[in-house]
């Protein structure tokens, strides 16, 4: 076999190995990318779920024998004071005898007012 033929054969071998390695790296990189992406994708879903639950978060008010009461979701409730206080994730206080002022996650943002 002439040196030229031998070089050609070697080049073909190197090309094959090169292709195999490239494919291997691509497969490994793809698997790694998916593994890296999954927590990010999951966090996106979690954030959407949280946003959805927050957009429905409300508070209600009533009088009881012991005074005005605010009740939020998941059984959270607290007496209504004349200074702002927290009821679940809402901020509320008693403005006058029959009115409460509150701000909840379901309220519109200020910049949309």
């Amino acid at each position: 076999m002439s040196p030229k033929t031998r070089a050609k054969a070697r080049n073909r071998g190197i090309s094959s190995v090169f292709t195999a390695v490239v494919i291997a790296i691509a497969v490994v990189a793809g698997i790694a990318a998916v593994a890296i992406s999954w927590p990010m994708i999951k966090s996106g879903f979690d954030k959407n779920t949280w946003s959805g639950s927050m957009s429905l978060y409300k508070v209600g008010f009533t009088y009881t024998e012991s005074g005005a009461y605010a009740y939020a979701q998941n059984g959270v409730s607290a007496p209504l004071n004349d200074t702002p206080g927290f009821v679940g994730y809402c901020l509320a206080y008693q403005y006058n005898a029959t009115t409460a002022i509150y701000s909840c996650p379901s309220n519109q943002p200020d910049y949309q007012r």
Partner: protein
Amino acid sequence: MSQILEELMTEPIGFIIAMVILIAGAVGGLYGYWAYANHVTLQNYLWPIAEVVPYKGEYFLAVINTGYEPFIVKQIYLSNGSTINVNTKPLTHNQWFTETTNQLPIAVRVCSAVEPSVCTVAPVHGWSMAVIKPPQHAVLAVVIDSCTFNLTKLNITKTEEDLVLQAFHYSTHCNCTAIHNNLTTCTCPWRLVWYGWSGGSVCYGGNLTFLIQPTHGEVRFIKHALEGPNEAKPNTIVVFNADCTYWLHRLENLTKLPQTLLQQYALWGQLYSGSSYPLLECPS
């Protein structure tokens, strides 16, 4: 030059260099993507909620961490374009930060306590006003406190429960205020009092004029001892005028009522002083 390139492309050294470049590129790319994914993941788990209410001429702002990723409140953005740097201590799950501002806050910037370069901006939710609804079956009543009445025909000592003279049926979504005026001294103490909720009571020491002014909904009166209108509608004022003589006269008549009715009045008093179980049904 092209010969060197040819050499690099075809000889083993060229293969090794190509592999190194390829692997370095892949590792570098993956690392960059990993760093980006970490950043986004951490950012997605920053769950601040910001609320504001007007209070005493200022704005009362509160920021709560509803998630489990601790964060620091860095800045408050105000409606006039200015910002307030706050830099709080880390807020963990369900911890609040409050601040009073003289301008309307519109957003807050929070950064992860673990990785301060990861930040997010949360809008501040505006406020609403709500009517505090009384219980559906609350009753407003005129009562006489325990006292002794010395009349020629009548000498009795009664307790409050026995002397619920008049009850105003407080229907669903009804909200009214009672105002008293023109009080004069009298030996017979009267009170206008709510049963079933803490709507407060108005005390009277004499001749009585009281106004029922519904602010929301309709108040229906249960007519027994008191002569007057049947109901009061929103934005109207109903005035009842009475004096002690009148009421004592009514009281005298009241004692002549069947015992069952007296017991009924007493029962109202007991029920609406304690249990919230509705004895009276709402008007349909």
